[in-house]
């Protein structure tokens, strides 16, 4: 047994996303130059094993080979035989040790209760710390995840159970992130709304429920993964310290810990990101700022006297990259098979400590999910649409019932907004989404308006029976192939200052008559190629001059940006900014808006109440800024027709391939061209059986085309009994899947 005081540190890899072991060693070395430090890790590729701070290194067997119990017992025996204390640098290893060697006095790690409190998303920890938790959901699969992402404006994080957080802004990134997290960690992802603001951290040390010290850190430089590269260290304010004392006391915390949170820019609300059950990798930065928490912890746990006084070298820290001589074990970084074949450099190990392997071993296997029953309303819709059986395949089918109920819902939304605001409210169906004559006829019979973006669409609507005053004209190419008129529109919205000038000319010459003429406002802080950004000072001046030269009669303001892309919160914020500035602009030119038109991209899953309250909020903002209004319009497209059509297909082949098990069908991305923007739910029917919904998983449906990317749906579990001749029904194919479909490979 060694007589020199000894500390064993695990997790010593020092890469772009380092473990804390090396930082801990540096802090302890600063406090006790002669302390014995031993490094412990699970592969020779952990680069910190070569660091001169360590007196001895232990390379343990990888997590994939060993018996977990034996591995834990081995670690405890290393610590005990050295008469050492142990500081963990790996979350999962710490959790496992807490479970296998609970309360061991030499292992400075939190008790099991503390791990429960900090498990993501950490609601209990957040409530103890007085922090909010960002909106979150555990992902069942891509349909569920895409729904969550759309609700939060495609600014979300996909997080692994303990490690890894991937920022996601679109469908392709979401699919990739879900697959990566599942393949790496073996567990389901936690989805969390992105909170825009300043990220801060609180690091602390505690022994048996007593706080030994803490300090705050604000990241001043981060890596592309968002990891700290430089930071400013500060003392903790009194209220935060008091709450931290509570957290540490009720969990009887032992060891290091880190609370990461973000203060939202718009609201100032602090949100918890996560609590780590160990010291962070930047811990030595706190030591350099005069707070040596690892030394305080080791001193309190062992009674080793401290002679040095903690000294602030600076109030901040930066990271540098440093080359050091490789230790003897580092030759093992090149696997023997590589040496035998081609000596390619090994990639920097992302996880040389083997946490993914351990995570997969600790995650219980889940049973294979089975197809689920389809609700009776949906079943009736399908029965009414698929009257002939076997049907022509592939075929797009219209669910008349879904269309009718969608129109009912839109009518009800108009009534809700009107009741809440007192402003007459109507909707204008966006024709480009799906110009099917059956859809136009249904809209016409409800007395609603249509929104068109070309003269050809306008003529199509006239042929369908829409009078000119029920047609809203917008878009950048509205006068393309204009026949000279005269023609009448309910409203015309101009997409640029030059479009405004051209439109004013046509109105002046009498070629065009419009009840309302107005501006399409661009969203101020979201990039868009459409509309007029009145918040830009030069544009503001140009529009003011144009309106002074040619005053308009009844002025309208249109705001149109896909809420399904930026989320309802951001949509309302962008609308409010744009309309606030536009209101003052109109006042400057002695004009006033009488009508607002609220577009679009309303996501189909929005309930009547949600859409109604969003439109009500926007209308109230408009009335506040513009004064009383004659009319509020809104423009549903996808919202009405996306769920109203499906693509009926027949299974041609079921195979095992490089992408896993897959069914090949007689449809393709030519019939489902919008496959990349939203995951179509898929129903399955064996001959003579009922339709059933396919659950999430990692299998695919492939299209009939000889194209690599003709995979209209991935992320499914195919039923055990699926066979050639069965039918699949791709739901939610009534919007751009219909209007943009093309003939290919037929």
């Amino acid at each position: 047994m060694s007589t020199t005081p000894t500390v064993v540190l695990s997790g010593v890899h020092s890469g772009p996303n380092p473990s804390p072991g090396l930082g801990l060693a540096r802090s302890l070395r600063l406090a006790w130059p002669r302390l014995r430090l031993e490094a412990l890790d699970y592969s020779p590729r952990s680069t910190g094993l070569s660091a001169p701070e360590f007196d001895r290194t232990h390379i343990r067997p990888g997590w994939h080979t060993a018996d977990l119990g034996a591995l834990c017992a081995g670690l405890v025996s290393i610590v005990e035989s050295a008469g050492a204390v142990f500081l963990p640098g790996l979350d999962l290893e710490a959790a496992l040790l807490t479970e296998r060697a609970p309360g061991h006095p030499a292992l400075l790690l939190p008790p099991a209760a503390a791990f429960d409190v900090v498990a993501k998303p950490g609601e209990t920890a957040a409530s103890l710390l007085g922090l909010a938790v960002p909106e979150h959901r555990f992902a069942e699969g891509i349909e569920d995840a895409a729904d969550f992402a759309a609700r939060h404006g495609w600014r979300i994080w996909v997080k692994g159970p303990r490690y890894q957080a991937v920022a996601v802004t679109n469908r392709a990134e979401l699919t990739g992130a879900l697959e990566r997290v599942r393949d790496t960690w073996g567990a389901e992802s936690l989805l969390q709304r992105h909170v825009a603001g300043t990220e801060e951290s609180v690091v602390f040390a505690a022994l048996d429920g007593e706080l030994l010290g803490a300090c705050a850190m604000r990241k001043t430089m981060v890596t592309s993964e968002g990891k700290t590269w430089a930071g400013a260290v500060d003392r903790l304010d009194q209220p935060t310290r008091a709450r931290l004392v509570d957290l540490v006391r009720v969990t009887r915390w032992t060891g290091g810990g880190e609370v990461e949170f973000v203060r939202e820019s718009d609201t100032g609300v602090p949100y918890l990101l996560e609590v780590n059950p160990r010291f962070p990798a930047w811990i030595h930065g706190a030591t350099l700022a005069g707070v040596n928490l690892p030394a305080r912890l080791v001193a309190a746990a062992t009674g080793i006297p401290r002679h040095e006084r903690e000294k602030a070298h600076s109030s901040g820290f930066v990271r540098v990259v440093e080359e050091i001589p490789a230790g003897p074990h580092a030759t093992g970084a090149l696997a023997p098979t590589h040496r035998a074949v081609a000596p390619e450099p090994a990639a920097v190990g992302k996880h040389p400590s083997g946490m993914p392997v351990l995570s997969r071993r600790l995650t219980p296997a889940r049973p294979r999910p089975r197809p689920s029953a389809v609700d009776p309303v949906r079943t009736a819709d399908i029965a009414a649409a698929l009257v002939v059986d076997p049907y022509e395949s592939p075929a797009r089918v219209l669910f008349g019932g879904v269309l009718d109920r969608g129109l009912d819902r839109l009518t009800a939304v108009c009534r809700d907004v009107e009741d809440a605001t007192g402003v007459p409210t109507r909707f204008a169906y966006s024709v480009k989404t799906n110009p099917d004559p059956r859809v136009l006829d249904a809209v016409l019979r409800r007395g609603a308006l249509v929104e068109v973006i070309s003269q050809a669409e306008a003529r199509r609507c006239a042929e369908a029976g829409f009078p000119g005053d029920r047609v809203v004209l917008g878009g950048p190419a509205k006068w393309w192939r204009f026949d000279g008129g005269p023609v009448k529109f309910g409203a015309v919205f101009c997409d640029s200052v030059t479009d405004l000038e051209r439109t004013v000319d046509l109105l002046t010459t009498g070629a065009v008559y419009a009840d309302v003429v107005g501006l399409r406002l661009a969203p101020p802080t979201v990039a868009s190629r459409f509309g007029i950004d009145v918040t830009c000072p030069r544009t503001y001046r140009r529009v003011a001059d144009a309106l002074r030269r040619a005053p308009l009669g009844r002025v309208g303001l249109q705001f149109h940006h896909a809420a399904s892309q930026i989320g309802l919160r951001a949509w309302l914020r962008e609308f409010t900014s744009a309309v606030t500035v536009a209101a003052d602009l109109l006042t400057r030119v002695n004009s006033r808006a009488r009508c607002v038109d609220l577009g679009g991209g309303w996501p189909p899953w929005l309930a009547r109440e949600e859409l109604g309250s969003q439109l009500t909020r926007a209308s109230r903002v408009a009335v506040r800024e513009l004064g009383s209004l004659d009319q509020v319009l809104f423009e549903p497209g996808k919202y009405l027709v996306e769920p109203a059509m499906a693509v009926f297909t027949t299974v041609l082949d079921v195979r095992d391939g490089p992408l896993g098990r897959a069914a090949v069908v007689d449809a393709s991305i030519a019939e489902l061209p919008d496959w990349a923007s939203h995951p179509h739910p898929v129903l399955w029917r064996a001959p003579g059986a009922r339709w059933r919904k396919l659950p999430a998983g990692d299998e695919s449906v492939l299209g009939r085309l000889c194209m690599e990317h003709d995979r209209p749906r991935a992320g499914l579990t195919l039923p055990d009994g699926i066979a050639a001749g069965d039918h699949l029904l791709f739901l939610d194919a009534g919007a751009y899947d219909a209007s943009m479909s093309y003939r290919f490979g037929v």
Partner: protein, 184 residues
Amino acid sequence: MTPPAQSAVPALPAKVPDQPPSALVEHPDCVACADTRSWLLAHDRAEATPAREWDTTTFGLGWLFRYFRWGPSRWPFAWCDVPGAAHLDCGVLACVAGMVLTARGLRVERVQLVERAAVEETALWRARWRAAGCPAGWILSDREVYHEVLLVHAEPEPVLFDPTELRQVGQGRDRPLWMRKWVW
């Protein structure tokens, strides 16, 4: 933790400015001057957030820098010169920020400073101003520059706010060498 080291008593500057703070020209009956002021106030209203109420660091004026960068302005400078400008100097920014904050109901006073600068900085700034054809009289010496900021009577206490740096005077820099609150 000890605060970063700083000189106890700054030495007085070589030259003490005697001119009043910068003032933007307002052309009589100029539609564009009035449009500019209308745009500034409308945009500032559009950017209002709950968090802005207690932000005495930036006062929620970050949006100005979506359109402008700090740099040389050619004086005399009018309100109607603002929309077309790519760069605004500290005098223009103090005028613009002062107008906007006053419209929010805050009492704002103009403050003139002399600040310490590094030789490398003043050399670079002198070259920038020369390249833009603007006089660089604000660079008082190789190590001293004239600067304009605002005293904002915010809650709970008045704040010396630097609209060019979007922070309080003294945050991240040495204390000014000389300071004068201007009384018109």
